[in-house]
Symmetry: C2
Subunit: 132 residues, 2 copies
């Protein structure tokens, strides 16, 4: 392979082909990661509903510390920068906690609405009862 890039995209065809080969692999991996993360969010969504239903806090620092330590070990074995793996997990966990909080908020506002409806019903019953 010879170098023939003039900085305006005029790249040696062999270099271009090798770049395309690598980028195809990167695109395949990205598709796999997106689908794994879609599955992960299905799990954390269920965790969020479970936590909201049982008044568990959205964040769980002990669980997160355990996850981070484990992922750093896995990353090291796979020759991935453990600091990057930790940053990435923190990034994903922050998103998950936002989801959990929004599930809990929705649940609280549903409860309030249902309380209001109950009290509306009571008022309506009282009104009906007070009517002749």
């Amino acid at each position: 392979m010879t170098t023939s890039n003039n900085g305006t995209g005029d790249v040696d065809p062999a270099v271009r082909a090798e770049l395309a080969r690598l980028r195809d692999s990167i695109d395949n991996i990205d598709a796999a990661v997106v689908h794994m993360l879609a599955e992960r969010f299905k799990c954390t969504q269920q965790v969020g509903h479970l936590k909201a239903a049982h008044q568990l806090p959205p964040a769980d620092p002990a669980r997160e510390a355990h996850q981070i330590a484990r992922l750093r070990r896995l990353a090291e074995n796979a020759k991935l920068d453990p600091a990057f793996a930790e940053k990435l997990l923190n990034f994903i966990i922050a998103e998950v906690i936002r989801h959990h909080e929004s599930i809990a908020d929705n649940k609280n506002s549903d409860n309030k609405n249902s309380d209001n409806k109950n009290s509306d019903n009571k008022n309506s019953v009282q009104q009906q009862q007070s009517q002749p």
Copy 2:
């Protein structure tokens, strides 16, 4: 399942079991993602060396725009928040560009060292030649 959490970790055993089941799946998915990303960085590392060897710029905005549009479509089909998929890809790409820059920097300093060595060799040859 009944709610019996007093906020200090005293959780109904059935809830705890369901949480453990979901967390096992999350841990399996995280291990898969770490290994996929290790493989992804092996590819981008090769891209980095290719770019450095052929004086291609570390970042490629057209390629990145294409990746983001594609991943948003994939995310949508997989019912993953496309905005989250985009943020995640940007996070990974930022790390990759840092790697590319450091590969390019190392290559430049290797070249300088090798230039210095060549000039050292020339000096040494000149010294030898000037010696009797």
